[in-house]
Amino acid sequence: MIRFSTVNLFNQGVFNMQSRLAALAQTQDRIANGRRILTPADDPVNSARSLEVEQSQSVAKQFIRNGQSANDALGHVDIVLGSATNLLQNARTIVVNAGNGAYTEKDLRSLAIEVRSQYDELLGLSNTTDSNAQFLFSGFQGRTKPFSETSPGVVAYSGIKVSAKSRSARRDKCRSVKTAAPSFRKSRTATGRS
C-alpha cells in the first residue's frame, strides 16, 4: 500500500499549480508584448535568424533610399541637360536665321546679343550645382568649377575627364548606378565662340 505524506500532498498540489501558473504567465507576457519570442531562450534558432532578417531588411531599405537619391540626382542632371539641348537648338535657329540676307546690320546685332545671352546661359548651366553646392559636371572634384571663360568666347574645362562610374550609389549587392554626369565626354575641345 502506498503511504501518502500529508505535507507532500499539499506541496505537490502547490507545485502543479505553480507550473501551470508559470505557463499562463508566459502566454500572457507574449500577448502583452505581441511577440512570440520573448527571450532568445524561447526559440534560439529563430531569434538569431530574426536578427539576420532584420539586417537584410535594413540593407534592403537602405538600397531603396540609395535608389531614390540616385534617381533624384539623375533627374537633376536630366533637367540640366534638357535645358542645354534647348539652348543649343535655339542658338542653331538664330544662326540659321542670320543667314537671311535681308537682315540689316542692326537686326544681326540684335541676333548676336541673343546668341550671346544663350551662350551665357549655357555656361551657367554647365556650372550647375546640386543641393549640396557641388558642381554637377566636375567629376570627383565637386568644388572645382568645371567651365570658365578664360577670354571672351573661350571656355576652358578644368574638370578631369573620368570614365564610367564617377559618383555612384550602391543599388544592390552587385550593382551601383552613376549619380552624376562624369563631365562631358567626347567634347574634344570645350571651347566655343559666339
Binding site: 534558432v45 536578427l51 573620368v162 575641345t189
Partner: protein, 650 residues
Amino acid sequence: MGDVVLGIGVSGLKAAQAGLAVAGHNIANATTEGFHRQSALTGTQIPQETGAGVFGRGVQVETVVRAYSQFLDKALLTAQTQQKYFDAYNAQIKQLDNMLADPTSGLSPALQSFFSGVQDVATNPSSVPSRQQLISLGEVLAARFNTFHNRFEEMRSGVNSEIKTVVSDINKYTAQLAKLNEQIIRQQGDATRPPNDLLDQREDLLSKINDLVRTTVLNETNGSMNVFIGTGQPLVIADQIFAVSAQYLPEDPENLGIYLKQGSVQLRVPEQALDGGKLSALIDFRNTSLNSAENQVGRVAVVMAKTFNDQHKLGQDLTGTLGGDFFKLPSANVIGNQNNTGNGVMGVTYSNVGALTTSDYQLAYNGTNYTLTRLSDSTQTTFTTFPQTVDGFTLSLASGTIASGDNYIIQPTRMGGRDIDVLISDTSRIAAAAPIRASSVLTNTGTAVITPGVAVNTANAAFATSGSLTPPILIQFTSPTTYSVYNNTNPGSPVLLEGGITYNPAASNAVFPTPGALDYGYRVSLSGVAAAGDKFNVNINSGGVADNRNALLLGTLRTTNTVANGTSSYQSAYSQMVADVGNKAREIQIQSKAQDSLVKETLSAQQSFSGVNLDEEAANLIRFQQAYQAASKVIQMASRLFDDLLQAIR
C-alpha cells in the same frame, strides 16, 4: 498473581503513553524540514516461568526509531543538489537571456544604423551633416559595445559576490554540523537508542550544504558524519571543520576560486571536481556562458574595428590626406600569474583578426618549451621562440624574461567591448574618397575607358608623400593592342617604366601589377577599343570631395564575411552569440524542469516512506487511546480482585 496483572496493566499503560507521545511528536513535526516519521517499538517483557507454564509479564518500550531509508534519502540528496545547480545556472543565464531579449536594445540596431550612416555618407560624400551623423552613430555603436561589456562585468562581479555568500553559508552549516556530530557521538553510546531528532537535524544540514555544493558522506560507527567535497577534500570530520574560502585566483585575479584550509595551508579545490550545487553552477556559468558571450561580443568589436579601420585607411578624407583609424582598436588582455617568478611581459598583437577565436589561451613555460593551450578545446601549440602567431594573434616577449613554470592567461577578445571607441571627431577626417583618380585625356580618339581605381595598400611608397602620387602614372597606347606605362612626374618628358604590355580590347585589363611586377598599391583597369596614342593618367585624387568610392567599400563591410575565418559577418557573429546564449538558457530551462520532476518523484518516494500522514497519526492516537483505556481497565480489574479478596476474608 494480582501484582503480576497490575504490572502488566502498568506496562500497557506506559506503552500506550509512549505510543501517544510518539504520535503526538509526529503530528507536531509534520511540517518540519528533514523530519522522519518516528515510531515506538515495543516488545514483551521477560516472561515468568511457573509450574503451570510460562506467563507473559506485559510489554516494554524498547526504543523509538525513525522511518529512515538511506537509499531514498541519498537519492533525494543527489536529485536536489543537481536541481539547485540548474536553478542557480538558470538564474544567472536568465540575466544574459533577458539582456538579449529586447531586439531594440541589442547590438544589431546600433550596427544597422551605423552602416546606414556609412551609406548616407556615400550618397552625399561632401555633406557635413551626413558625416557628423556617421561619427555620432559610430559613437552610439561603440557605446553599445561598452554597455555590453559593462553588463558582462556586472554579472561577473555578481557571480563573485554570490560565490562569497555561498562559501560563508557552507562554513556556517559545516560549523553547525560539526557541533551536532559532537552531540551525536556523545549520545550514540547505545546504538539501539538513536538520537532521532538530532540525526534529522544533521541530515537537514547536510541537505542544505548539498544545495550549495555536492558532497560525499562517510558515516562512522561512532555516529559521526564526515563530509567531503570535490575529489575528497574534507569539510567536516567528526567535530572538526575545514573552512572553505573564496579567493581571487593567482592566474586570473578577476575571478574567485575555491580554497580549503587544511592546517595552515590553503588548498585549491579543482573547479571541475565541484559538480552539482549552486557553487558549481556559478563557476560553470562564469567559465562557459559568461566568458564565451563576452568574448564573442569582444570579437565582433575587434574584427569590426580592425576591418573598418583597414578600409578607412585606404581612403582619402576631405582635406586630401589618407584616412586614419576610425575606431580605436581594442587590445588583447594578458594576465601574468601572480606566482610567476620571471619578470617577462607578454605583448600580443592582432595579425589576422579574421582568424580570431572566442577562446582564451594559456601560455606555459617549462624551461625549454612554451606551450600555448586554447582553453575552449585544449588544443596545444608548442614552440621555443617568440614571436609566435596562433589563431590570428602574435605573441611576443615585450620585456623581461620568462622563468620556468611561469604561465600567462591570454584573452585576445575579452576587452573588445570595453576598449572600442571612435577616434574621429572632425567630420572632414572621414575618408569617403579613394586616394587616386584615373582619367582619360580629352584628345583620345579611341573609345577605351579606364576605371577610376581603388587603393589596396596605402602603405605603398607611392602614397608616401601626402597630396601627391609618387610617381604619377601615364599610360599611353603604342598600338590598339599594346601600351606603355610612364612615370609622369614631369609631364613634359615622361619616363618609361615598362613598355610593350599587351592589351585585349575585348576584356577588362588590370594595369597593376604589370607583367613586370610594377605595383603602386592601387588597382585600375582598362577596357574598350583603344587607338595608338591614347593616354590615360593616374594621379592623386586632389580636391576629390564628391568622391564616394571608399565610402561605398566601407558600406559593403556590413555584409562581408570578415569574422571567424570569413564565415560570418559582424551581424551574424553577434547573432551566433545570441543563439548560443539562447540555446544554453533553453537547455538549462529544460534540464531544470526535468530535474524538478525528478526531485518531485524522489521526494514523493522518500516522503511516502518517511513523511507523516496525519490520518495515520490520528488513527494511531485513537488506537493508543483505546490501548490506554484497556490498560487502565486491567489495572482497575487487578484492584477489584484485591478488594474482592479483602472482602472475602473480612
